[in-house]
Structure formats: structure tokens, C-alpha cells
């Protein structure tokens, strides 16, 4: 009897003390569940609190191949509903895996239809899915989130770490039926839904810009188009429209072709719009006065052996007329008054050849060669916007600098980041990069640019009731195949701001490869006028006249 008790006690000691860690591990496996929650991705708002990207519910279809009795019949039934080929589904159903995704994040209607089929081994699971309430609106700026809720482009990508939220692995006790139990020892970890991002985009202005850009691109059968509307005093981007764009809600893989934001990633030669920058440098350096005369060689001039042409055969023109008529010869001669280093420094100061800091993915600094690498013709060519590569965002910021009386502001697309409890965790304030030109020079140039719109090439940019200061641009595209400027492909642009006396917004319109008419003054300027008028009316800016 005593011996039995001793044996029992030894056995108990072995189980309770020596084997304790092993049995605890087995018990924990049965009673503790490890999980990582799928957190809600933050919302993207426009500047007025309108939702531009929200989280919605979607169902994903998966299969347990071993449970499916007739894979052929099942594949046939599902093919139509899932928009996949029968062969593709059958291949998935015949794998040896215990679990296989058939289609992720399908719409509610399709999910209901699949549920009603009651196929054994075909299951649905609920997941979060990104939904873009305005479909195509600002699609490239907002960007796209992938199937696993990761940002792929636009703000979705550059602010991904804020939007995603924080989910640690957590440990919860469960009962014999697998139900979660609140108990001591539960580790709830850190779980925080994604933060919300408030952009500077104004949904209505964005819509105005996109409608007008669509119209312009349709009329001209252009390859690409960009319209940027910027608050010239703060640098906030109110609208950034790119065409072609995509609908983030569309299941079509076509959308992945257009994820880049051409306004920040595409480099183009600014053409005559750059004359405004050269004029700013000349006026600031007191190298020209508005009434100074330049001989424009009746439209043809050989500069260091290379021809420069004007679209009109003009003789003597004042500096104001050179800008009004957008004379390449006139500005090339004026530009040669500048030293290479000086022009380079002004271009740099206006933000060319450098990142603007807009916080959008894929931004390029453009191309602005060091003056040491410039040839003899560089100075004259650069004066009318050849031999320099700029992005649309750089060009609009440079014009905003003129509108802002000489102060360059950093362009911004995000105003603040708010956490899931509504607390502001990061605020982006307008930032003055530098003063580039004096107040006086900026005002003088604004008056000159107003003349360009009143009497010159930018006549069609006139906006009823508001004085516009702006400059047209018609840039021949460089053809890498022939290593020459193309005679058929152009970029038509217009950059300007209004109301000229107290500027509120700067607008850049850029139409790439318009068919038929290709002049900035006839293709881009009318678009500027339409957008400008509607933006002024929307912002409640009273007409000046």
C-alpha cells in the first residue's frame, strides 16, 4: 500500500513538476489563440472633408480542393461568376493544396450568387476592400491600394505607413468550443486602425479640371493631358488632373498601366512658358528694361550656326512685345545678356532641376545641366525653353512664385494626418522655400504677362471679369529615334494665374501631342480660361470688372 502511494507520488511529481513546461505548452496550444487583426485602412479626405478613398467590405472566394466532389462541374459554374476561364479555375481546384484562393475581393452581388450555389468546398471570407467614391476623380493622386491593403501608388503609397494602421500579434484565451474568453494573461497588444489623411485637393476644383481636360483631350485627340491648379499663396495643390487616368474601383488590370503621376514623373521641355523665367532673371538683374528694343530678324536667325525661327516675321520689338508675341529670336538675344551661371542659378532658385518635395511617389528632379556642360548655343536655346527638362509640378510652382510676388512655396498635397480617434498627429504647414525675385520684379513681370494675355499669344486665356497673367508654350518634342526635334509632335501649354492683381490660383494646362492645331495659345489657353472662370466662381472671387 505504502509502496503504491510512493510510486503514485513520484509519478505525480514527474507530471506536475518535471513535465510541467511540456504540458503547459500543449494546453496553451489548445486554449490560447494567436491572431493578427485586419485593421481598417485610413480614409483619404479632400480639403473640405469629403471622402476620396474609404474602406468597404468585400468577399473573397477560396476553395478546399479535397472537399470538392466534381471539380469540372464546379469550375463551369464558377467561371462565369468570377470572370475567370474554366480552365484556370479547374487548374486551381485540382491542386494538392489544402487551400486555394479563387478570386479576392469580389462585389456583394457576385458573393451572394456564389453563396446560393451551395457548393461544398467553396467558401467565402469577408475582407476589407478599398473603395473610391468618386471613381476616376483624382485617381492618380489618391493612388491605389492592393489586394492586401498595401499602397501601390499616389498618396496610398507615399502615406502607406500612416494609412495601414498598427496590428501586433495578440494572444487570447479560448474555451473548449473555441470561443474567446476574457481572462487574466490575455495579451491584447497594440491595435490601431489606420490614420486618416486630409489632402489639399478640392473635390469640386478637381472635377472642374478633369471635365475640361477630358474635353480638351477629346477635341484634340491628345496623347496625354495635365491640369494643375495651385493656391499660389500657400503652394497647396487644389487639383491635379492627369489623362489618361483610371477607375480604382474597376476590377480590370488595365488600371495598373496608369499608376504613375505624369505631373510629377514626366519630364518635358517647357518651350515658351520658360521665357517668363528668363524674363524674371533679366529684370531682376537689371539687364533689360521693358522698353528696350530687340531686332527679331524677320523671323529667322542663325545663332552660332543653328537656326532659330519665329512664327511671325517681326523686326524691332520691345521686351514686352518679345514676350507678347513669344519671339524666340528676341528672347534668345535677351537671354545672351545673362551669364550662364546666372541663368542656371535663377532656374535652380525657381525650383528646376530639383525635387519640389511634394510628397508624391515617382517625382523626378527634371534635367538642368550644370553650366560647365553647356555648349555655345545652350544659353540662347534655354531662353526659349529648349535643352531643359521640367516636370509640370515644377513649372506650376515657378509660376506660383511669380504670382506670389517672388516667393517660392513648396507644393503640397497633404494638409494633415489624423489618427483613428480624431487627433491630429501631423500637420503640414505651407512652407516658403526662398525669395527668388523681388516684389517689384514680380509685379513688373505680372504686368508684362498680363499684356501677353491681353494683346499677345495668350488672348484665348482671357477670363471674363478677371485679369490673367500668363504665358503660352508650344514645345517641339524631341524625337530620340532621329535625334532631332519632331516636326509633327508638340506639347501645347499655358501657365498663368488670376486675378492678376491679387492672385488666388495658378493654373497649368499641358496638352501632349494634340492633333490638328498644336499652338499653346489655341489649344491650352482656352482650357485655362474655362477652368479659371469656373474656379474663380466656385471660390467666390468677385470679378474685377
Amino acid at each position: 500500500m505504502i509502496l503504491t502511494l510512493i510510486v503514485l507520488e513520484i509519478r505525480l511529481y514527474y507530471i506536475q513538476v518535471i513535465s510541467h513546461p511540456r504540458y503547459k505548452k500543449i494546453a496553451d496550444k489548445q486554449f490560447i489563440s494567436v491572431r493578427q487583426s485586419e485593421l481598417r485602412r485610413g480614409i483619404i479626405y479632400d480639403r473640405n472633408g469629403n471622402e476620396l478613398a474609404i474602406e468597404s467590405e468585400a468577399n473573397s472566394v477560396y476553395a478546399i480542393p479535397s472537399s470538392i466532389a466534381n471539380p469540372g462541374k464546379t469550375a463551369r459554374k464558377l467561371a462565369l461568376l468570377l470572370d475567370l476561364s474554366e480552365k484556370e479555375i479547374l487548374k486551381k481546384l485540382q491542386t494538392r493544396n489544402s487551400f486555394v484562393w479563387l478570386r479576392r475581393k469580389i462585389d456583394i452581388e457576385t458573393a451572394d450568387k456564389i453563396k446560393n450555389l451551395h457548393i461544398k468546398g467553396i467558401k467565402l471570407i469577408s475582407e476589407g476592400k478599398r473603395f473610391y467614391p468618386e471613381n476616376e476623380l483624382a485617381s492618380q493622386v489618391i493612388g491605389l491600394a492592393g489586394l492586401d491593403n498595401q499602397g501601390l501608388s499616389g498618396i496610398e503609397s507615399s502615406f502607406d505607413k500612416f494609412l495601414t494602421g498598427k496590428a501586433e500579434k495578440t494572444f487570447r484565451r479560448k474555451d473548449g468550443f473555441g470561443r474567446e474568453v476574457i481572462a487574466a494573461g490575455n495579451d491584447y497588444g497594440v491595435e490601431a486602425d489606420g490614420c486618416n489623411v486630409v489632402t489639399t485637393i478640392d473635390k469640386v476644383i478637381q472635377y472642374i479640371a478633369e471635365v475640361e481636360l477630358n474635353r480638351a483631350c477629346e477635341e484634340t485627340k491628345a496623347k496625354l493631358g495635365i491640369i494643375i491648379v495651385q493656391d499660389c499663396q500657400t503652394g497647396e495643390i487644389l487639383a491635379l488632373a492627369n489623362l489618361p487616368s483610371f477607375n480604382g474601383n474597376s476590377p480590370s488590370p488595365e488600371k495598373y498601366k496608369y499608376l504613375d503621376i505624369p505631373a510629377v514623373s514626366n519630364i518635358f521641355e517647357p518651350g515658351s512658358t520658360f521665357k517668363a523665367i528668363v524674363a524674371a532673371a533679366l529684370l531682376e538683374e537689371n539687364l533689360v528694361r521693358l522698353k528696350d528694343l530687340f531686332y527679331c530678324e524677320n523671323g529667322f536667325y542663325l545663332s552660332n550656326g543653328l537656326p532659330i525661327r519665329d512664327h511671325e516675321a517681326d523686326g524691332w520689338l520691345t521686351f514686352v512685345q518679345v514676350l507678347e508675341k513669344s519671339s524666340n529670336i528676341g528672347i534668345a538675344k535677351a537671354g545672351q545678356l545673362l551669364k550662364k551661371d546666372t541663368l542656371y542659378q535663377y532656374a535652380r532658385d525657381f525650383g528646376f532641376g530639383n525635387y519640389t518635395g511634394i510628397r508624391l511617389p515617382g517625382e523626378t528632379p527634371g534635367i538642368l545641366k550644370n553650366p560647365k556642360d553647356w555648349s555655345e548655343i545652350s544659353l540662347s536655346r534655354l531662353s526659349f525653353g529648349q535643352g531643359i527638362g521640367v516636370t509640370a509640378i515644377q513649372l506650376v510652382s515657378a509660376f506660383s512664385c511669380l504670382a506670389n510676388r517672388g516667393v517660392l512655396m513648396e507644393p503640397m498635397v497633404v494638409k494633415k494626418i489624423i489618427d483613428s480617434r480624431g487627433e491630429v498627429i501631423k500637420e503640414f504647414n505651407p512652407y516658403q522655400v526662398r525669395r527668388v525675385i523681388s516684389y517689384k520684379t514680380a509685379q513688373t513681370l505680372t504686368e508684362t504677362l498680363c499684356q501677353t494675355v491681353e494683346n499677345g499669344t495668350g488672348k484665348e486665356a482671357k477670363t471674363v471679369g478677371y485679369r490673367v497673367a500668363g504665358k503660352t508654350g508650344t514645345a517641339q518634342k524631341f524625337d530620340p529615334a532621329t535625334a532631332k526635334y519632331s516636326e509633327t509632335n508638340y506639347i501645347a501649354s499655358f501657365a498663368g494665374y488670376l486675378p492678376a492683381d491679387r492672385p488666388r490660383v495658378t493654373i497649368l494646362v499641358m496638352i501632349d501631342e494634340p492633333q490638328g492645331f498644336y499652338w499653346g495659345g489655341s489649344v491650352a489657353a482656352p482650357v485655362f480660361s474655362r477652368v479659371g472662370l469656373r474656379v474663380m466662381q466656385y471660390l467666390g472671387v468677385p470679378p474685377e470688372s
Binding site: 471613381n135 476616376e136 474568453v181 473635390k203 504647414n429 505651407p430 472662370l533 467666390g540
Partner: protein, 123 residues
Amino acid sequence: MEKDKKGKIGKYYLPFLVGFLSIFISYVWESSEVITLSYRVNELKKELISLENRNCNLKVRLYRYINLANIDRIARQEKGMVFPRSEDILFLNTDFKDSKISSKKPTSISSKGFKRCLEKVAS
């Protein structure tokens, strides 16, 4: 003698037993209550998630009707609405700030003046 002994045991140990049992019962009762409530909390959590999801789905359906492109289409095509002419628009005196730039780093957004004006108009 024996009765006295039993009486003494009853007198001293019975309250102890009752006390022990009541503590034991209240512990069991509390634990069972905690578990029952935790089931309820979990059920409510699931209900909340389901309601949030339903809310999201309703939002998605709502946005199909109220997105700008749809409103624009209905206004123009179905209701025959047109944009007003410039002369038909009456502008409020918005008293915008002059756009003179100071050398100080700006800290506020430009729409403040506009908001202030709207507040004035509203009051």
C-alpha cells in the same frame, strides 16, 4: 460530554465552513459571470463589426448615386440645367487678404479670411 464536544465543533467550525463555502461560491459565481460577460462582449464586438461593414456597404451604394459625375449627369441631361452666366452670379464681399508676402514662414492657410467672412455673413 460528547454532546458538548459536538456543540463546540459546531460552534467554532460551522461559521468557518459557511464562510469558506460562501467565498468559494462567490468565486465560482464571479468566474462564471466574467466568462458569460466575455461571451456577450465578443458577441457585441462581432455585431459592431457587422454593423460597421453594413454601414460601409450602404455608403458604397450611396456613393454610386451621389458622386459628382453622376450628379453632373443628372443635372445636365435629366434636369436640363446649365451653368449660370457670369452676370447672373452675385458675389458676396469676401474681403480677401492682400497677397503680399512677408518674409516670415506662413503658418496658416489662406482660406482663413474667407472662412471669417462666411462666419460674418452667417451671423
